[in-house]
């Protein structure tokens, strides 16, 4: 079975959760999954749920808060550590699926370049499924992806002043 590259982008809710759902489905089928979360170092409820899966490994490559305006040195270091880990994992046969959550945000903040990312992705084994998420995906990722879904925000309760809620947004 060949592996493909998925890209979930756009400004609507559902990108990271779609990747998590894919991880769940893959683990249910006995596949091994690596989830690298870029830009995020906060605690998310899904991390607790994912601990129940020996098939799923999660690593975070971000600080405990989102980037405001400009990335700081720690943001760049964390993201580059992620890219370096993935450069090791992607050519290996250790995983059947690798999720690079919010990798488009890492690109948007220029924590590394799209060329560096594509070089890493290009070293994948034939069977590896790669999932890329995050808004602001650059054209180059649309080109290399085999599947692109854009999540488009039509309505969001944030616009009514609702705050992010534990168990729903994090």
């Amino acid at each position: 079975m060949n592996g493909y590259i998925h890209l979930y982008t756009g400004n609507g809710k559902g990108k990271t959760t779609a990747a998590l759902g894919l991880a769940l489905r893959a683990a249910g089928a006995g596949k091994k999954v690596f989830i690298g979360q870029f830009v995020k170092g906060m605690h998310y409820s899904e991390l607790d749920a994912l601990k129940r899966f020996s098939e799923i490994t999660v690593k975070q490559y971000g600080r405990k808060c989102f980037i405001e305006n400009e990335p700081v040195k720690e943001d760049i270091e964390a993201a580059r550590k992620g890219l370096s880990d993935l450069a090791q994992l992607i050519p290996s046969d250790d995983y059947d699926m690798i999720i690079m959550d919010e990798v488009c945000i890492a690109l948007y903040y220029k924590l590394f370049t799209v060329k560096e990312l594509i070089n890493v992705i290009n070293n994948r084994t034939q069977n590896l499924e790669i999932i890329l998420t995050g808004r602001y995906a650059p054209d180059e990722l649309y080109e290399i992806a085999d599947l692109v879904s854009e999540m488009k925000e039509i309505k969001h309760y944030y616009n009514k002043g609702i705050q992010a809620r534990k168990g729903i947004e994090y």
Copy 2:
């Protein structure tokens, strides 16, 4: 905390998986989740994965194959059983999140009406989060939803002749 209504629709991949990811996150936060899958009675790998969660209950309200052209009697009966179960569950305090997966497809095939569905949803308790998925969502669901994300297919490997794969699509 108030609960809201989410609608994940559109023709792109990521609707059911986004709902599964939400279920995972909610369970990680200790919430109780009910997933009713309309139109689907096939075996999906996520069902095996979800068995590890005592917080998550899944029921299927469909046959072992998709509807072709016209629904048969069993499709209608299965979907109406689902609506009837939800009419019981939604006003109760048994769950914190109720996912009605592919409910828009049930409406599209007229297995029940949008008015019947909205009547059931309107009996929800204040804290219940309701997640609706499926393409072809009718305008009435856009109106009642607090959050709408449209998954738009930009590219799909099905169009290259790739078949659905275990652990990725099912």
